[in-house]
């Protein structure tokens, strides 16, 4: 397959839409500055279509430009967890017949993050997008620790309930705080010699499977993930592949 680039309204026209702010007083100089910035990034045919004074010497721009950069679709590599996607009944069946006891799951939104929406979507009975949460499954024993849980508390809980799986959520982040938090948890689990005893999974709007592997997790799930996807991965890895 041949090289491709951004599609505006014609194949390989390379058109891209931008919106950004510069800390500069609104005026002709600001407009030229915005255009220069895009040119320096390698864009051509730069059009600043809208400029707006945001006050306090800030200016907002909407722009279009053309890129010559291309990619080859045949050479794109994606790192995926590769687990099949079963439904709740199938998953419960696999656990019942092959594992023969409930899988113990500890979930938490850790450290600075106070937002439970992600961990709740996966764990709470109600679930997400019409897909029931892990609490609804017969063969998951779920401990949802909620938000702002220190990493040390997660470790304590893992020991207390003898967890098989740990789900860590990071929703709201600033200055890549989520990466620091996730790294800290891995360090705590390693120090406590718990890392190899559990399947460690993270999730959040800024996370991918690839990111998760780099951070020392067994899997990562991004936005839009439904509970049965996570449950399928757990069953595939823990039971069928026998890995923790």
């Amino acid at each position: 397959m041949k090289e491709i680039t951004a599609y505006g309204d014609k194949f390989n026209d390379g058109k891209i839409q931008f919106s950004f702010t510069l800390p500069i007083k609104c005026g002709p100089k600001a407009k030229e500055g915005a255009s220069l910035l895009l040119q320096k990034m390698g864009f051509e045919e730069v059009q600043i279509v809208h400029m707006q004074d945001l006050h306090q010497d800030f200016t907002f721009f909407v722009a279009y430009a053309v890129t010559q950069t291309t990619i080859n679709p045949d050479k794109i590599q994606v790192i995926e967890h590769g687990a099949p996607h079963w439904d709740r009944v199938e998953i419960d069946n696999i656990i019942e017949t092959k594992w023969k006891k409930p899988i113990v799951v500890v979930g938490a939104c850790i450290e600075t993050d106070a937002h439970t929406v992600g961990i709740d979507a996966i764990l709470n009975m109600k679930g997400y997008h019409g897909d029931y949460g892990l609490e609804r499954y017969k063969f998951f024993e779920v401990y949802n620790m909620g938000a702002q849980v220190p990493s040390e508390e997660v470790a304590k809980k893992i020991r207390e309930v003898n967890a098989d799986v740990v789900l860590i959520s990071q929703i709201v982040t600033q200055n890549n705080l989520h990466l620091k938090n996730l790294t800290k948890l891995v360090e705590v689990l390693e120090a406590e010699e718990l890392r190899d005893k559990v399947l460690l999974i993270c999730g959040g709007p800024r996370l991918s499977h690839k990111d998760a592997l780099e951070l020392g997790y067994d899997a990562g799930f991004g936005p839009g993930t439904v509970p049965s996807e996570v449950a399928s991965f757990i069953v595939d890895r823990l039971i069928l592949k026998g890995e923790k």
Binding site: S19, H55, D57, F60, V117, Q148, T173, Q174, L177, P205
Partner: protein
Amino acid sequence: MIKLPIEQSKIDEARDIARQIVNDMLWLFKDYSSSTIERTVARFFGIDGVNSLDVPLPNVVIDKIKEQNLLEDGFVFHFCNAAIHFELGAQELAEKIANEDIDFKHIPIADKEQIYKKAMQFAQWGINKINEQKKKREDLQSKYPNNNNPFIYVIVATGNIYEDVPQAKAAMQQGADIVAVIRSTAQSLLDYVPYGPTTEGFGGTYATQENFKIMRAGLDEIIPEQGRYLYLTNYASGLCMPEIAAMAAFERLDVLLNDALYGILFRDINPKRTLLDQYFSRMINAYAGILINTGEDNYLTTSDAIEKAHTVTASQLINEQFALITGLDKRLMGLGHAYEINPEIKNSFLYELSHALLARTIFPEAPLKYMPPTKHMDGNIFRTFMVNSMFNFAGKLSGQSIQLLGMLTEAIHTPFLQDRFLAIENAKYTMNAIEDLANQIEIKKDSFIVKRANQVLDETIELLKTVEKDGLFNALANGVFADIKRPEDKGKGLDGVFKKSENYLNPVLDYLKVKLNLQ
């Protein structure tokens, strides 16, 4: 204004039950106090600064009293007794306590009336400061009245107060009326208020008295040019509710997040602690003329916004009653609710409008605070922007008073400067386009909107009856609100709750009660 044809007798019934629920809790306020309440009194005495380990002096003093097992007597009794004995002012004595080991038990006890007089004399510092700020607000508001309706409310959250100021000023110049400096995420669980200007926070900027002062000065600078009073918000929630309220009153903040139940449910703070702290903090707000915002919107981010709509209404009614017993004017009760129904549901807007009109109908005088969609928003910023337009439409049409704008980058990161501008532009356009629409239309009596509102009110009454029967503490333990269970003897901050001894004195509380015409 659009009126929902709902029987007033049903609204009265719901309100009566809520009043009973709150009346059953009065013993708590009469017999108990908390460490942060005591630290608040210390702040009224003008005690400020930190020790060599950066611990705020109000904490140092109250901790020393607690170490000597004297906390039941309260801060005032031993502190003012020592002040008489050593012949020192409040700040001097606080520093002495921080630097030396003072054995309070071995100081001869002065006449109790004399101690009380000393305390009242010290407390005058804080009272004067609040009086000055009230006067300043009144003067500015009469010179530069802000008649926007609803008020447009946005948040800044850089973590650095010096970077927050130009962002906040820019937002006001773009057309916002209220700015909140969101707090660093972990601050609600700190049992002290950090000190001084701060330039690093996580997901927000620390609430400190110095940061309050810096932001207030920044906004004041542009009030004359903008020709309307600009409102500043912070958060009197977590483990230091009354201390934040006092500091906010000293520095003329105008709005405080201040919910009777939020800390219990969403921060796992002990129920007794939260109720005690909100009580005293609301008296300070009532006296200082600070508008409160309650946090019912949070129920809908945790539970389903249709199934649990009635928990919002029930909580608003309970919050109203808890506010009334502190002397808070109804015009200062910014009860909260939210636009959180799944956008994929057919007629979702009708549900939203029904719920918003119900709140407006039940609380005609309250400056209702309407929160934007968050739960079902994702990385599709264009769709989020569209849903935010409908939210702004609903807010204007249903006569909400404070519209907290949704950001198109919800669920991605804290807002970019341009996100805030686009949100303000969205709200300005939508609201201007329908400025007089509410006066032109009425809702059909047998419409879905009316039926739905009645259904929510009926469910509210049922829920309130259960809470009244079980008692508020048991209801919280049973997970009635937001499906979260919070027992009375668990949660953070319980170690700061104590039963008042016969020696206990709180002249600030007494003074506020008199001024607010409370018994």
